[in-house]
């Protein structure tokens, strides 16, 4: 019987300032800031970093690998709209060495950080709940 091996989690290392800048940039693509708050205002990166060090540690390697590829692709030097197009290419499976599934994972985690309970590190000042019109939020 074939059994797929479980992912082995390595001890968590804090992101470098470059990795964090890249993560902020891709999260900003998921939920851009404009007249309504985005990933930045909600502290989505704090949510992701904290969870990757804990409950979501099995995704840590996938993030580091994708962020390294984005760095090599000069992602931070691109204007906003070019970044969007680049991530759309990733999602379409057209960027070598970054799996399309990275976008799904990133979007899921961004929304968790935007809409989850603030105690997990994101949704600062319940900003995500306020955006959709539930002032009291989904917590007490």
């Amino acid at each position: 019987m074939a059994v797929a091996s479980a992912t082995v989690a390595l001890p968590f290392q804090a992101f470098s300032s470059e990795q964090r800048a890249l993560l902020e940039a891709v999260c900003e693509q998921m939920l851009p800031s404009d007249d309504l708050p985005g990933a930045k205002e909600a502290g989505v990166v704090q949510y992701i970093e904290r969870q990757l060090a804990g409950t979501l540690r099995q995704y840590d390697a996938a993030y580091r690998s994708a962020l390294a590829e984005l760095r090599d692709a000069g992602f931070l030097a691109m204007p906003f709209d070019d970044r969007t197009r680049f991530l759309e290419q990733v999602e379409a499976g057209k960027v070598k060495d970054i799996p399309a599934s990275f976008i799904r994972m990133l979007a899921d985690h961004t929304m968790q950080g935007f809409f989850g309970d603030p105690k997990h590190g994101g949704n600062r000042d319940r900003i995500g709940w306020k955006m959709i019109g539930i002032e009291k939020g989904h917590s007490h």
Partner: protein, 543 residues
């Protein structure tokens, strides 16, 4: 003790009350904890609806895992307890009823006679139950009064005869239900308020529902929800005859040379204990009950207790949910919990070319993260500026109606154990295989079409279907793995839930369901538990 009950959920809780009230001494073993509200709180990311940060109601990822093979995947994978493919229900006092939405449905007459109604079905072990709705009716009534159900008797024209009305009037309609009710009538359908195990007025020493927006997925902060953790189990303990032991993990049922049970071996912490008992009741839900039987072996039960004819663990069922989402110009959201308030049974049976079907109901109040992932139109990219503005402007302008498709039982959909993969205590874990019968998907498409029709009639300007997946079934509505049968060759337990091949072992949970209805199954589990308990009390008294 007179009886050891493994599992303090929907079924086990009822049995604990009934036996301890009758004066028998009961040990109620529960592998999970007894949670206070503050421990689980209203944390969407760690709830019974979203487990992205773990299971709020157990079991934990550190000690529990399963081996799963999903659909046509050639490989088995080991998954932790919070993985969606694990097929979890819950592990805590109250079981699934601590965090459920508390819909309290009676199955319909035809749900007990699926084979007679629809005939043999290729690729399915579709069969009639050995008992009828009429046999179960008095116990449905008992369950409604003991658990505390609010509803309107006679409001559902498809409901079979009942001997007594509900103990409480229904919860009031919310804005969604007020839009959906006239729409259904316009279509010639028959909407009614969903029966719920939620107090619409103070009942049984517990307060009325405070209409908060966090219901399904969380425990109730005021105990208005009729969980076994707040009704039958406390009453059992109050008799002085029931010893609830939490964080006790059953290893195996101990068997003697005649094949009968002598007790249960279980771990508390890492210490192994043996609890002798005259009667053993297995109530761990369909996956874990099958696992416990398969892990209990001796010469007379070489392939597992009750498994002489290979039926233990077979026919795992759940519910293939199907429905639709609609967008509205006006606000449909009013923030009044529980949110799910209106249903209809026009499509449970009698659908052209379809065997069975489901009730259709509006959804509970949508949780923000799940809304952002699961209720977005398929035409839309699910990230970026346009998406964010859509979320901001549509959270209060959507509505979802859906139903739990009555699944065709499949022999190959099964729970096994695998000695090569063990949990924290060294107990072989559950191995899940199988995929849904193609008919479940067809029935899902039919129900989704009706759901779209309903939403459009209520004023939706755009609708889209949500269809069930083809993968492994089970999950929160898991059932079927220890089928109830008149003939010992074609099932695991008799009509009173006693294992055919053992005099003193009972399985009393969703495992015994021959078919799982087009409804949430908790009230049926509890009605069966009241009926089996009555029989058990008589049996023990006779000696």
């Amino acid at each position: 003790v007179d009886a050891v009950i493994v599992g303090a959920g929907a079924g086990g809780g009822v049995v604990a009350q009934e036996l301890s009230r009758a004066g028998f001494r009961v040990a109620l073993l529960e592998r999970g904890k007894r949670y206070r509200f503050a421990e689980t709180d209203h944390d969407e990311l760690r709830s019974q609806r979203t487990t992205v940060l773990g299971n709020a109601f157990g079991p934990d990822d550190e000690r529990y895992k399963r081996l799963v093979k999903i659909g046509d995947d050639p490989q088995f994978r080991i998954v932790p307890a919070s993985d969606g493919n694990y097929g979890n229900v819950a592990a805590c006092v109250g079981g699934g009823t601590l965090s459920y939405g508390a819909m309290a449905w009676r199955f319909l007459e035809k749900d007990f006679r699926m084979r007679s109604t629809y005939g043999a079905t290729e690729g399915s072990t579709l069969e009639d139950w050995p008992i009828s709705y009429a046999d179960l009716e008095p116990y449905y009534t008992r369950a409604e009064w003991e658990i505390g159900v609010s509803g309107k008797a006679g409001a559902n024209p498809f409901e079979p005869p009942r001997s007594k009305p509900y103990p409480m009037p229904p919860l009031p309609f919310n804005r969604e239900a007020s839009l959906l009710a006239p729409a259904a009538r316009k279509l010639g359908w028959h909407p009614f308020p969903i029966p719920m195990a939620i107090n619409s007025k103070p009942y049984d020493g517990r307060p009325a529902c405070i209409a908060c927006p966090h219901c399904v997925g969380f425990s109730c902060e005021v105990n208005a929800k009729g969980s076994t953790a707040v009704n039958v189990i406390p009453r059992a303990i109050k008799t002085g005859n029931c010893d609830l032991r939490t964080e006790c993990v059953a290893k195996e049922i101990l068997l003697d040379a005649t094949g009968d049970a002598t007790g249960v071996a279980y771990f508390n912490g890492n210490q192994l204990y043996e609890q002798p008992a005259r009667i053993v009741i297995v109530a761990c839900s369909a996956t874990e009950s099958a696992r416990l039987l398969l892990n209990s072996r001796n010469k007379l039960h070489p392939t597992g207790l009750g498994n002489q004819t290979d039926w233990v663990g077979r026919n795992l069922q759940g519910h293939a949910y199907a429905g639709a989402v609609g967008l509205f110009e006006q606000e449909t959201y009013d923030g009044v919990g529980p949110g799910a308030r209106i249903a209809l049974c026009d499509f449970n049976h009698g659908n052209p070319g379809i065997k069975g079907g489901s009730m259709i109901a509006n959804e509970f109040i949508r949780l923000p993260y799940l809304f952002s992932r699961n209720m977005v139109p398929p035409r839309m990219k699910r990230w970026g500026r346009e998406y964010k503005h859509w979320l901001a402007t549509h959270y209060k302008r959507t509505m979802s109606v859906k139903g739990p498709i009555q699944e065709m039982p499949v022999w190959e959909n099964r729970v096994e154990i695998d000695p090569s993969v063990r949990d924290h205590w060294g107990i072989p874990v559950v191995k899940l295989t199988g995929k849904r019968h193609p008919h479940d998907i067809e029935a899902g498409k039919f129900i989704a079409t009706k759901a779209e029709q309903w939403l459009k009639a209520a004023g939706a300007v755009e609708t889209w279907k949500s269809l069930p997946g083809k993968g492994t079934t089970g999950g929160q509505h898991q059932a079927g793995t220890c089928r109830m049968s008149a003939d010992a060759k074609t099932g695991v337990v008799d009509e009173f839930c006693r294992v055919h091949t053992s005099d003193n072992v009972y399985v009393i949970d969703g495992s015994v369901h021959v078919t799982n209805g087009g409804f949430n199954p908790s009230l049926t589990i509890q009605a069966i538990a009241f009926r089996a308990s009555e029989h058990l009390v008589k049996t023990i008294k006779k000696g």
